[in-house]
């Protein structure tokens, strides 16, 4: 709900270690931020910190909910409610999130959904609640309804890149790849420099390519290589981009050898030499990044899962070349 750029959100939500570390600060922040200090005369003179502390509380509420510390989260939400009023859009959404997190069974979640519907019938443009409703439908495994809700939301708010990304994810989970590609392209139009969205688009195209016939696959793979390249161009250290580039180029090289003979004349295809050097380049950079991150404790913690996947890939290559 805080309008983070999608890349920030990706980094945050994918890293449980950071989240648990953040939520461990809850007692300190909650103690520091005493609600009695509000409305005093000094408040205007402390303005910058004053605003930030509420931002901090919101973030803390999310971190606590993600790490299972529901009581601290409720405290944060109560403080926010005492400042902004409990009918504030963000506060209601946070309360809803807390209810969802503490819901015991499916019936309780359905109850949440009814509440959201009731709120929306009163105030149809309550964006945080609209988004919560979609997320809840998704977690109730009713993806079709979630997609319908999200399309209605995007019809009214076509400039929300996060919503487009979410829609792409939903489509992808339903196997509707071309729709997912369309949604990601819409997201890119709003945040043209987001390397993770470029990379995600490449990944979706790649998974498309691995499930179609050879001629179409080559075209798709070429496109997905371009998107991976662009994400690397935007962020020279982006592990996922290099991974994708490496996998996609090897697959295209493989397919090309079967297919090349028939249609080598197509104008926009890239030469095999370029492909080979791209493949080597990606592999070398992957090895380099893995070597550096493995030696550094902090960097290693940062994206463990991805690093492990990369190591596995490199192992596979080494075994294949032996």
């Amino acid at each position: 709900m805080a309008h983070d750029t999608p890349e920030l959100q990706y980094e945050h939500s994918s890293n449980l270690i950071t989240i648990s570390r953040l939520s461990q600060q809850a007692p300190r922040i909650l103690a520091q931020h005493s609600p009695s200090g509000d409305g005093s005369l000094v408040a205007p003179f402390l303005k910058p910190q004053y605003h930030e502390s509420y931002d901090l509380l919101e973030q803390l509420a999310f971190a606590c909910l993600q790490s299972g510390d529901d009581r601290s989260a409720l405290l944060c939400i109560d403080r926010l409610a005492s400042r902004f009023g409990s009918s504030n859009e963000k506060v209601t959404a946070l309360r809803g999130l807390h209810e969802e997190a503490t819901a015991e069974d499916r019936a309780a979640l359905e109850e949440c959904l009814h509440k959201y519907n009731a709120i929306l019938s009163r105030d149809p443009v309550n964006l945080p609640i609209l988004k919560r409703r979609v997320a809840l439908l998704r977690s109730l495994s009713r993806p079709v309804e979630a997609i319908t809700g999200l399309i209605r939301l995007l019809d009214a708010v076509p400039t929300d890149s996060e919503a487009w990304c979410e829609l792409a994810d939903l489509y992808q989970s339903q196997g509707l790849s071309s729709q997912a590609v369309f949604s990601l392209e819409e997201a890119l139009l709003i945040v043209p420099n987001a390397w993770n969205v470029h990379c995600r688009l490449g990944e979706v195209l790649y998974s498309c390519a691995s499930s179609t016939d050879v001629g179409k696959a080559c075209h798709l793979l070429r496109r997905c290589i371009q998107y991976f390249c662009r994400s690397i161009e935007l962020c020279a250290e982006y592990l996922r981009g290099f991974y994708g580039l490496s996998v996609a180029t090897s697959l295209l090289l493989e397919k090309k050898t079967d297919y090349e003979e028939e249609s080598s004349a197509s104008a926009n295809s890239m030469s095999t030499d370029t492909l080979k050097s791209l493949n080597t380049f990606a592999r070398m950079r992957l090895e380099e990044i893995v070597a550096r991150r493995s030696s550094d404790h902090h960097l290693w913690e940062y994206g463990q899962a991805e690093l492990i996947a990369v190591k596995e890939l490199l192992d596979r290559y080494n075994r294949a070349s032996d």
């Binding site: 303005k47 910058p48 209605r152 791209l278 380049f281």
Partner: protein
Amino acid sequence: MALQGVEQTILRDPALFYWIVFPITIVMILTGILRHYATVLMNNPPKPAATLAESRERLGLIRGVNFRNNAYVLSPESCEMRRKYLISAYQEGAFLKDPENRGQPPANPMTDPAGMEAMMGMMKGNMMMMIPQTLIMSWINAFFSGFVILKLPFPLTIRFKSMLQSGVMTRDLDVRWVSSLSWYFLNLFGLQSVFGFILGSDNAASQMAQQMAGMNPAAGMNPFQPGQDPDKMYQNEAENLAVMEHFCILDGIEERILQNYGSSEAY
């Protein structure tokens, strides 16, 4: 004409300094702070869209602008597809709040409550600047007019005379002498940084912020000014899209990558 090289001396009561310079400065600062809080109190934020259709009407235009600016991320086919869709949607008014009202003249902003509110907001802002200034200036004119209150420690050219000595009709006075009315003007324009220090950088007391806000009210939220016809804006945007030139940043990216990043390594 003042004699060159000869220092003009004026015998002043030192109390002038304490009874005029300080009061004016303090009053100016206090008014600035007061104005800030009055503006904050009276300022009502621009209304968010009340219905989904209204939100679509506002953001549909921004979508087109976004597309026009960032179309370089798309491949030519998908760009062409989107362009066709957006142009036809704009021309048919698919994003309009109430499509049946198309072509009718826009409602008079005086009778439209939303437009009225926006105009009132602008008026309030202007009043907030005008009233205190008028009051203080007449206060200074009534009490302190004609006082020469301080002497600048550096020489100035004759052009500054009208700026520094308003209210003192003496032709021969050295430009370095500052009159009380001029001290007021100097304060009026020179206290921005003091307000910035006291109230934070985005305070409402500073005139610059006022002027900027007048030019572009609530830039992000509502692209339509009161009284503007959304349909006309859409037609404009459709034309912009029709003449748009597309280039694709993905063309030749493989070679670019290899050149920029891969050149250091030997293959």
